[in-house]
């Protein structure tokens, strides 16, 4: 009898469930912005994979995270400049890091990708959109588990990037000598 009345008097979702849902989202975004350099590493890896299949304009590529109704989405805006006939085996070395990397912030409004090859028969803006959290609970668990992995990887990634930058410097030095 009481339940009957409760159903009428209470809003559809009890606030405890609302709280859990809100926390899930906010923590996902807290964790993502926890380590901007991790997002930077993710971006580098992602562009590496994409560039195995298509030619891209790395300088104008951007990866951001956005909260939309009910889920957190990863948005990758990658200007495509051409299609590779044969996929590369390995990703080409990433370009030097942008002047002020702040990947957590959304991109400044920019004109659509300037260089679009005529080989790509698409009039739509060339952007890839990868939804991140289709299943909520799993996403949180994954994110929590990933957090620990990320921390470990963070150190490795930083070391790797240093090595790469040093590599690039060495390359430049070699070119200068030549």
């Amino acid at each position: 009898m009481l339940d009957f009345f409760n159903k009428f008097l209470r809003p559809a979702q009890p606030s405890g469930a609302t709280a859990k849902e809100r926390l899930r989202l906010v923590l996902l975004s807290d964790h993502l912005s926890l380590a901007p350099d991790v997002v930077e590493a993710l971006k580098a890896d992602l562009l590496g994979v994409i560039s195995r299949y298509v030619e891209i304009d790395r300088a104008h590529a951007d990866v951001t995270f956005e909260q939309r109704a009910g889920e957190l989405a990863m948005l990758a805006s990658v200007p495509i400049t051409g299609v590779r006939r044969v996929p590369y085996e390995a990703a080409p070395p990433p370009p030097p890091a942008p002047a002020s990397p702040d990947p957590v912030r959304p991109p400044a409004p920019r004109a659509p990708a300037a260089v679009v090859s005529e080989r790509v028969p698409a009039s739509e803006p060339q952007a890839l959109e990868l939804p991140m959290a289709s299943e909520p609970t799993a996403a949180v668990k994954a994110s929590n588990a990933a957090r620990r992995r990320r921390r470990r990887r963070k150190a490795n990634a930083a070391a790797k990037r240093n090595a790469q930058q040093q590599g690039a410097v060495q390359q430049m030095n070699t070119t200068a000598q030549a």
């Binding site: 405890g16 709280a19 926890l34 609970t137 957090r147 620990r148």
Partner: protein
Amino acid sequence: MSGRRIVITSGKGGVGKTTTTVNVGAALAKRGKRVVLVDADIGLRNLDLVLGVEKRIVFDIVEVIEGRCQLRQALIRDKRFESLHMLPAAQTREKESISEEQMKAVIVELAESADFVLIDCPAGIEHGFRSAVAGATEAIVVTTPEVSAIRDADRVVGKLNAERIPLRVIVNRVRPEMVKSGEMMSVEDVCEILSAELLGIVPDDEEVIDTTNRGEPIVLDESKRLATIYDKIARRLGGDVVAFTNLEAPGLIGRLKTLWKAG
């Protein structure tokens, strides 16, 4: 063999760190363990008030570190529990007056002659948090089933994970009737979000306000519901496997109702 060094932390203030420290410490002491409680909240000390020893403070942790007294001179022995001691924080100093290394040295020294050193961490994640954590090898994260407390706890769990400090969670101030009606997150929800192991569930109980007013740990009175709960936490901390109290077990009225229905 040196004792265990456990920091009690939360991120958010006012979720019950000090009450937890005092009661878990007292419950351990009651079981014959040698326990030292350390108030790491320099400038806003309260462990002395909750334990009811505020009038007996002579020296504090900063004076120990600055070499103005011996460590054992600053320790206050509890009059109710033989093996319970307390090292007070300084009230009129800044948290920055203790470095992480200095704090660690004191904690390690205390652990040499104790089974448990429980460090009551200040709120926040500033300098005071870092030095409180510096001396610990384990952590208890206290949280309540509220959005902001969990968000802050998550931040602290992240920081402890980064330091590779193992942790367990105490969910404090649970109101079973609100959980049941869906207006409060359940303990399972909290643990899932924090992806952390559970150490204890403590119901919201107004007795805590009363006993704090009087400076008496609630575990002194064995007839109190929370005394049993803190004792269970102490046993789990010691490594025992103890079943969690079912807060939703029907009370007298509930049982009468069931009887009525059955009849």
